[in-house]
């Protein structure tokens, strides 16, 4: 099973550097993709850098809230 890394104590600067490694970016508040705010695919809302859930494969970046996480598990199964 894929291991998890909590980002709770990770400095924002590190999160942004990590996003850049994953071909995303940030304006300091929101996650950006190709210069545009990246939207959580389940709730259609911009994802904030301080509340991300990032899953590998096709790189899914979601807002870390129960509705998005539940929707993710419903689509992908109990992979977490």
């Amino acid at each position: 099973m894929t291991e998890k890394l909590s980002m709770k104590d990770m400095p924002k600067e590190v999160k942004i550097l990590l996003l850049r490694e994953l071909d995303y970016d940030s304006d300091g508040v929101f996650v950006l993709k190709n210069g545009e705010k990246h939207l959580d695919k389940y709730i259609n809302e911009p994802v904030k850098v301080d509340n991300m859930f990032i899953y590998p494969g096709s790189t899914i970046i979601l807002d870390n809230n129960p509705l998005s996480i539940t929707s993710f598990l419903e689509e992908y199964g109990d992979v977490l």
Binding site: T2, E3, K4, L5, S6, M7, K8, D9, M10, P11, V14, L17, L18, E21, L22, Y42, I43, N44, E45, D50, N51, M52, F53, I54, Y55, P56, G57, N64, N65, P66, L67, I69, T70, S71, L73, E74, E75, D78, L80
Partner: protein, 236 residues
């Protein structure tokens, strides 16, 4: 990988503070991510609560009877809101997100599950002489049309009894549901009784009623009263 390796520790979600976030370490995290051996999450508590709901008997039972993915999600969110409520956590943003995506019907379904109505409803359904396919159809019909088959009585409805009675009668007469549910919590149980009695009087012999009552887990004020108005099964 050695247990001295801070990245190995980090990937187990341990001792993040000791990680030296050098450029190389960030690249290492990204590599592990691309290898699909690592994912990132801000708040593990959210994930934990969500996963716990997927183990609950209510969810497993619901999944047996209902295949609709949207209803699956809303059902689990109802359980999650109930879990938050029991933990004394605030969850207004979650309700807003449910409303933004699934509108009023989504909130009805999450309220229905949060208030424990599904387990009582299925108990009521299973007591009838009907088969599995009909049970599935009944549940689907309830969720498809939940706004016209369930009503949540509020304390302030005490000042609005006649209007509420007429609203319920209009829904029942328009749609003749197999089961209509009148639900209340705490002080709302008093207007709920009055409303239910007036509705039953107006319906005559078309429906029978069953009541479910539960004491509040933390206080009497949290006690619930749920009426199931069941349409009489006509002899063939």
């Amino acid at each position: 990988m050695s247990s001295e390796d801070p990245l190995a520790n980090a990937s187990r979600g341990v001792a993040l503070a000791v990680i030296d976030y050098s450029t190389e370490k960030i690249k290492q995290l990204a590599r592990k991510f691309r290898d699909k051996s690592l994912y990132f999450i801000e708040d593990e508590d959210t994930l934990q609560v969500v996963k716990e709901q997927r183990k609950k008997g209510e969810w497993v039972l619901f999944r047996e009877y209902v295949g609709d993915k949207t209803y699956h999600i809303l059902f689990q969110i109802g359980l999650t809101i109930r879990a938050y409520e029991r933990q004394g956590k605030d969850f207004p943003h979650l309700r807003t997100k449910v409303y933004n995506k699934y509108e009023r019907k989504g909130l009805y379904i999450t309220n229905f599950v949060q208030n424990g109505l599904f387990s009582k409803y299925i108990g009521n359904l299973l007591s009838k002489p009907i088969g599995v396919n009909q049970i599935k159809a009944e549940i689907k019909n309830l969720f498809d049309h939940i706004e016209r088959t369930v009503i949540f009585i509020k304390t302030e409805d005490d000042n609005n009894i006649d209007h509420k009675v007429q609203e319920i009668l209009a829904k029942i007469r328009a749609h003749s549901p197999q089961t209509f549910i009148i639900s209340s919590i705490g002080a709302a149980r008093i207007p709920c009784d009055i409303i239910k009695n007036s509705v039953m009087e107006a319906l005559g012999t078309q429906y029978t009623s069953e009541v479910y009552e539960a004491q509040g887990e933390l206080s009497v004020e949290e006690g619930k009263k749920i009426y199931f108005l069941n349409r009489k099964i006509e002899p063939i």
